[in-house]
Symmetry: C2
Subunit: 228 residues, 2 copies
């Protein structure tokens, strides 16, 4: 019995790549916006890795994004006129077309919440921008650590006062689901085959024994309604 669904956000709910590229193009008109967005995102996992491995205390993703922006600007020789304004691009990410309707349906019978590496502030502002109807904001900040560390998934279940087997993790990334499953959560895979652009080679197919695989959130809602 699934009582709550928790969601990866970057890539699973929202199209970070084209959204960030749009803001880069508006604020840095001379750079290759898609390449800049991809390079910025490429710094994401290494920045979190140091924290996951204990080499640095927890720092919210907003601050990592800003450090990473400075790194990419330095590497590409670009001067960013308003760093904070561009960093807020991560609060203005467009949802995939099925997301708002799908979440609305899933919310009828389940608690829905992000389980993202984004901070509470970032997820709150993004939800307002993208009309994501979360019941509450969960994720990395509660655990003061980053996915795929087990502490993050377990902190979400604890905050909801639910056993892990009553919570389903929804993600477009197999590694996220492997980590959640190892913590005892149920899992749903919803591929986003253009998250990384038209030439994407990763996460096109499920590579684990997930409880549900669905092409979009609306179909996911139908699966869960049929089970109820």
């Amino acid at each position: 019995m699934v009582q709550a669904l928790i969601f990866d956000v970057f890539g699973t709910c929202v199209d970070w790549r084209s959204s960030v590229a749009r803001d880069v193009a508006a604020m840095l008109p001379t750079v290759d916006a898609e390449a800049f967005a991809t390079a910025w995102r490429a710094e994401y996992d290494p920045a979190m890795a140091r924290i996951r491995e204990g080499g640095r205390g927890y720092v919210p993703l907003d601050d990592l994004h800003l450090e990473n922006l400075d790194t990419v600007a330095r590497q590409t020789g670009v001067t960013v006129p308003d760093r904070a304004a561009l960093n807020a691009a991560w609060e203005r990410l467009d949802p995939w077309p099925d997301v708002v309707e799908g979440l609305g349906r899933l919310k009828r019978d389940h608690i829905i919440a992000p389980c993202s590496n984004g901070s509470i502030a970032l997820m709150t502002r993004l939800a307002r921008y993208a009309d994501l109807p979360w019941d509450c904001i969960l994720g990395a900040e509660l655990a003061q650590d980053y996915k795929p560390k087990p502490a993050v998934y377990l902190a979400c279940c604890a905050a909801l006062r639910l056993p892990a087997h009553n919570v389903m993790m929804v993600a477009a990334h197999n590694n996220d689901l492997h980590a959640a499953q190892a913590c005892g959560l149920q899992t749903a895979f919803v591929p986003r085959k253009t998250e990384h652009g038209p030439g994407q080679t990763v996460d096109l197919e499920p590579d684990g024994d997930w409880d549900i695989c669905a092409p979009d959130f609306i179909t996911l809602a139908s699966h869960l309604e049929a089970k109820a």
Copy 2:
């Protein structure tokens, strides 16, 4: 400039007394339901006081409510058939009549969130029951301490990544506003003159220099819209 509004919930947003009494009447038909609800709530502050004073580590309010239910049941010689079901009465509290409309208007231009002593789980389930359209759930659990300790108000501002002077605390209780103001937050007083029943003697009037006093959330929204 107010960017976010954070709210006391029990008493300010919802009528805990008549709602809990309703569930007590349904589940314990032989007891005086209003007296039982009042006695249950009377254990609330002493239970938190031990934690605020450091005599006990943080325990979520759900667990304190259950301990307090056992205390009142023992004092009154009542046998409670399903303690967990009755304890969930705190997740089924009716909003005052102006709250849902008022929050909807306030949400247009501001982040809105509870700053309650209730847990994330309790506030999430209550929001679903009462249609409270929060952007995120903040409050005591983030700080692992209880209001009116400054840590709770400051944790809410930190989670939103906002300075305290851009955040307004809304409450029907003067002591809550005194504590928030001491932390640098703006303050709004919305009295709830029957929270404790028809003979209420406390918090009928403002007793501090609050930024806004309004009779209900709709008028509060009008005040803020006029300032914008």
